[in-house]
Amino acid sequence: MSLSTVEATASQVPEEPAVKGIEGRTPLQLVVARLRTDRVAIASIVVIVLIVVLAIAAPLIAGITGHNAYNANVDNGTDANGQPFPPGTSGYLLGTDNLGRDILVRIAYGARISLVVGVLATAIATVIGVVVGLIAGYFGGWVDNILARIMDVVLSFPYVLFAIVLVSVFGSSLPLTILVIAFFSFAAIGRIVRGQALSQREKEYVEAANSLGAGNIRVMFVDILPNLIAPVIVLATLLIPTAIVFESTLSFLGLGVVPPTPSWGNMLSDAEGVGFQAWWFYIFPMLFLLMTTLAFNLLGDAVRDALDPRAERIFAARRKTKAT
């Protein structure tokens, strides 16, 4: 845009400032702007939002259809021969399972479990990982030695096996499932944060903060932490699908969410228990599970690209091709 055209538009619209100065954009604005040009990211966000809506609306769906997610419903939910309804019959959109329960309602309640486990386990793991990693990296020395060793040990655990043992000793329950997943995930974040903190603490701004009299806690969480937030966000986004898969696996093995509470994992376990009786027992829980994990993984990749300053060229190229 040449200067004369700017002046021309300025004279036409006098209430606007004459020349728009270069606006500073915060890193958050940059990331959001980049994500908005990323079609894959938008699609994943749409899928995630739809599944969240499904989870929130679970009681509503149960209310509208009048179908219960928990109790066997052989009288109404199966035909005269006791066979389950295929999808789309008698008001059962996704069909019924072998006990006559509405698969749609059970999937909606299962979405609640998956999302709660995915988000809560990740949140706990992230908080612990960040705190442990920061302490190890910032203090160094023997503190670092001990904490880094503990994280190495956790990372080299055969964790599925260990999770199974934990669950078998304490009995399966949702809070235990979440804690187990968090325990085996924190080290992944902790190790990255530690590495970053090790290099950040040598920077001048840390020295400056120290010389101004800032305490260790303040330096760690107010000065250093904001510089590490990008890798933490990416890892956390990628931990959510891992946690969801972990929960569904535990439930599939009969060690996670206890029936009759539906979770996508134990629905598949039920489906396997009755052999390959009907395809709709399998396909719908599988589809929802896959869609959810895929959406979070794609979003994680997109967020990583968007947070990476070196990725600017890619986004610039994308904008260019879009404009033409």
């Binding site: 655990f157 055969p158 599925v160 043992v165 898969v245 598949l268 994990t293």
Partner: protein
Amino acid sequence: MIRFLVRRIAVGILTLWFIVTAVFALYFLAPHDPARTIAGRAATQADIARINQEYGFDQPVLVQYGKYLERLIPLPGHFDLGTSNTDHLPVTTIIAEAVPIDISLAAGSAVLWMLLGISVGVLAARRPRSLWDRGATVFVLAGISMPTFILGLLLLYALYYLLTIHGIAIFPKPGSWTPFTQNPLGWAHDLILPWVTLALITAATYSRLTRSSLLEILGEDYIRTARAKGLSERRVVYRHGLRSALTPIVTQFGIDLATVLGGAIITETVFGLPGLGLTVVQAIQLENLPVVIGIVLVASFFVVAANIVVDALYAVLDPRVRVS
């Protein structure tokens, strides 16, 4: 080199000790009667008294802990994992029967996942941002998002069930297992679906690793030198590039191989293969705790040993590691 190895082995022993202690704490200090738990559900008063004496539960905790560790000292005639409380077989016998299945499972699937993972990764790295690369990205994301049990169930449903009910019984029914020494062809035939399941899930990680590692190395100066002196592209990529790119892949491979050796819990459960994984799941369901502890220890040993071997290999492949 010697010092490096000694340090890694010390860390390995520390990890094993940590796992042993964790298992001990879980099973022997958990808030329930350990003798009753070990004896199983159908235990008589005499059983419990015998177990109390055998394990020394009447003694102080530290004495019990010492005895527990002592039983695990790996000397001939000393090592003892206890006896199973369902069929009263020594746990070591049960493990020895299950391990060949895990070795078979690991051998076949490892070959498949290395071939598939590395070739997809090389293909993607040679033409970054091409259609091949995008295809590889989709493959990787699908593999990472796909829970193992879903892929296993899908393969079983499509290739075993659907084909069999249409009269094309090519694939064996779940639970089939032929020892290699009996009939090598039957062995491979029975294992093909579990192999493919494990390989497809695992290959994704290798493609991603190969791609990123090879892309980085193809940008190095010595690659330009190799091209400048007129080597064929094939020679540059495979002899000069892939060779250096293999280092992180070797690391990952060691740990994955050990994890499968210690029991591919989900694959074995879906396909009914009585390896360590299925054995431990069944033992957990029957509260057969000596077997559970034994398998956890063996599986942990595999993983810890693999970590040491991998670190040693790493030091051989990359001399820089030895210095630090």
